[in-house]
């Protein structure tokens, strides 16, 4: 009975398919078990059930049934090709975003830019490379991290609706930032630092309170996050109410995500850190696959569950704390982008993680470009754009597909 199980050479042979379709796996007619107590029980496979040795048990390639799509497992090649395609899309988006904005890039300006005839002091050049480029790069890094964080949290908590802020670190970092703005810290160092300290303090509190359950229950962590959220929000409201006009404006912008305060200096540090931590997280991609099937299942299959959860949770939370310190709170990226990637590509995290991360970068660059031009020359917080795009889209998806996250 070893002969009949895989045959790839005649995938397209229609005879193979009809044979296998008629094979009812549980129908005992092709398996008979002698149940006579005097003879040992044996499995008899009647030859007639397998008419020829090149019999194909891959009917899916031929079957019109959409549920039995061709089962091709993930290959490194597919991951690399898809990632390369996403990188290309990202570069394209960045290029387009660079030339869109309230300072119009006329044909002449572009021409002279390409021919290097602009002086370094030309305002157009300054806008492009001193203002827009760092902003696009920051948007890309933030989107990358938020979407990656969404994927990882959704797997760790086995909840497709988890977002990167579930540990309550959004409110922790918001509290830090609001305090920073209230006391007039600089937007280059002071406010991000205060936000980061707030987020890290939250992670510390949540993991030390819910820490014992890291290896088993996720509910305690979620609840702790919710409670911290409520507490921090109350304090934030207090400071917002007592804040003066200009600071109030800054606070509200921070709370809805603001990428306008972008400089090259933090990017030099953010870029490599995000890259390295992402690679470490990618090393856990297959562990995450198994975790989504259940923690006990993952243990049975050989995953060191507690270690995986702990490392991923801490790494992702720190990374997110770091980027939102510079960007403010931007919702929906970590929810929508992984959702789309799942629908298009399935649930394998080896593909899901790079595609979501790059997709998040593309999405946020596009959203921030919109934020720059919708009310030009005035600007919207980018979080307003992501929420305005994200919420209706999400409702549409839920209504159309239900809450189950499946391949379409």
């Amino acid at each position: 009975m070893k002969k009949w199980f895989i045959k790839t050479q005649n995938k397209s042979s229609p005879s193979g398919s009809s044979d296998s379709r008629t094979l009812d796996p549980l129908n005992p007619s092709h398996i008979s078990l002698s149940s006579d107590a005097s003879t040992p029980r044996t499995l008899i496979l009647h030859d007639t059930d397998f008419p020829d040795s090149s019999f194909s048990l891959q009917p899916s390639a031929l079957s019109p049934d959409p549920l039995t799509a061709s089962p091709v497992p993930l290959t490194l090649r597919k991951v690399l090709l898809t990632t390369a395609a996403m990188l290309f899309l990202l570069l394209l988006t960045m290029t387009v975003a660079l030339f869109i904005g309230s300072a119009d890039a006329s044909y002449n300006k572009l021409w002279s830019l390409l021919h290097r005839t602009l002086t370094p002091e030309d305002p157009f050049k300054i806008i492009l490379f001193q203002i827009r480029l760092p902003r696009i790069l920051l948007a890309g890094l933030v989107g990358f991290t938020l979407a990656l964080g969404g994927v990882v949290f959704q797997a760790l908590l086995r909840n497709p609706l988890a977002d990167p802020f579930v540990l309550g670190l959004s409110s922790g970092s918001a509290l830090g930032a609001v305090l920073g703005i209230f006391f007039g810290f600089s937007f280059q160092i002071g406010v991000p630092l205060a936000a980061f300290i707030g987020a890290v303090a939250t992670i510390f509190i949540v993991t030390s309170l819910g820490g014992r359950s890291l290896g088993a229950e996720s509910a305690t962590i979620l609840l702790t996050g919710v409670i911290i959220n409520a507490f921090c929000t109350a304090i934030i409201i207090f400071f917002i109410i007592t804040a003066t006009d200009s600071r109030l404006h800054s606070m509200l912008f921070w709370l809805y995500g603001d990428l306008s305060q972008s400089y090259f200096s933090p990017l030099v540090f953010l870029g490599p850190v995000i890259l390295i931590v992402s690679l470490v997280l990618f090393g856990f991609s297959r562990n995450l696959n198994l975790l989504t099937a259940g923690e006990e299942t993952a243990l049975h299959l050989g995953v060191e569950v507690a270690r995986t959860k702990y490392i991923c949770l801490i790494a992702v939370s720190l990374l997110i704390s770091l980027v939102i310190s510079f960007s403010g709170l931007i919702g929906f990226v970590g929810l929508i982008v992984p959702h789309l990637a799942r629908m298009a590509l399935g649930s394998d995290h080896r593909l899901l993680m790079p595609v979501s991360a790059l997709g998040g970068a593309i999405f946020l660059i596009a959203a921030d470009t919109l934020a720059r031009i919708v009310m030009a020359p005035a600007e919207l917080p980018v979080g307003v754009i992501t929420a305005c795009l994200g919420a209706p889209f999400f409702i549409y998806l839920l209504k159309k597909k239900g809450s189950r996250w499946e391949r379409s």
Binding site: L67, R158, L290, A293, G302, V303
Partner: protein, 259 residues
């Protein structure tokens, strides 16, 4: 062949609650062992201890002469596979992807499944008679099919021992029979050790070579089905009047309820 798993005086307690005590057990290749007992008698806990998920707080467990508790999950998963009662697939995976998960303990962290892994997974799907479901998302499968896929995943681990937790619960008569036949055949053909926890005494007595009857965390009786499934044992353990007779064809013990 040597013994796969050896338990000596194993005991376990959840806090002050003693769940298992003085369990002595040897599991050999090609042997199918059924664990019986009423609810709360420690069956599932014993299964988790056999897989090393719960530590044996007393006594010792050896997997081929190596202490189980000193082994990494990956090392254990290459030798012991568990078919647990799991029915929640919140993320969408195809049957083939689920079975390929069984290759996890054999692969390095960033290694992709090779052609050989794919062959092993497809072989496992064929062995459990569900090769034609390879491309189907698991949550669209029926209870019986899902169970077959999970057994295929266990086979893909290429284990020496398979543990099954109530593999036939929620299945109808035909599928119960099919699953137990499948397990019995695999055990015999692949020289696998099999431990199956079951509430169905008849089914276990029909297919297992050896039965273990648990009562309040201790082994009340063990041995061949005819020695274990007796009127006295069943009534003492389950606290319920029964009639035990012989199956007219197989001669195995069979129980019926009496008022």
């Amino acid at each position: 062949m040597g013994t796969i798993l050896t338990l000596k005086n194993v005991g376990f307690a959840y806090g002050p609650l003693r769940v298992l005590r003085d369990i002595n057990l040897e599991i050999k290749p090609g042997e199918m062992i059924g664990i019986l007992g009423p609810n709360g008698s420690g069956k599932s806990t014993l299964l988790k201890i056999l897989d090393g998920i719960l530590p044996a707080q007393e006594g010792s467990i050896a997997l081929y002469d190596r202490p189980l508790q000193k082994m990494k999950r990956r090392q254990i998963a290459r030798r012991i596979a568990m078919v647990a009662q799991e029915n929640h697939f919140r993320f969408s995976f195809t049957a083939l992807e689920v079975v390929l998960m069984g290759r996890f303990p054999h692969l390095q962290p960033l290694q992709f499944e090779s052609h050989r892994d794919l062959v092993i997974a497809q072989e496992a799907l064929s062995a459990t008679q569900v090769a034609d479901l390879a491309g189907r998302p698991v949550h669209t499968l029926s209870g019986g099919e899902k169970q077959q896929v999970l057994i295929a995943r266990a086979l893909a681990q290429e284990p020496q021992l398979i543990l099954l937790d109530e593999p036939s619960s929620f299945l109808d008569l035909k599928h119960k029979r099919a699953i137990f036949q499948l397990i019995a055949n695999l055990s015999r053909e692949k020289e696998l050790g099999v431990v199956v926890v079951s509430h169905d005494i008849d089914l276990a007595a029909h297919y297992c070579q050896k039965l273990i009857l648990l009562k309040q965390g201790a082994i009340y009786a063990q041995g061949e089905p005819a020695e274990v499934v007796t009127k006295e044992n069943i009534e003492a353990v389950y606290d319920c009047p029964v009639l035990v007779d012989q199956h007219p064809i197989t001669g195995r013990p069979r129980i019926s309820l009496v008022d």
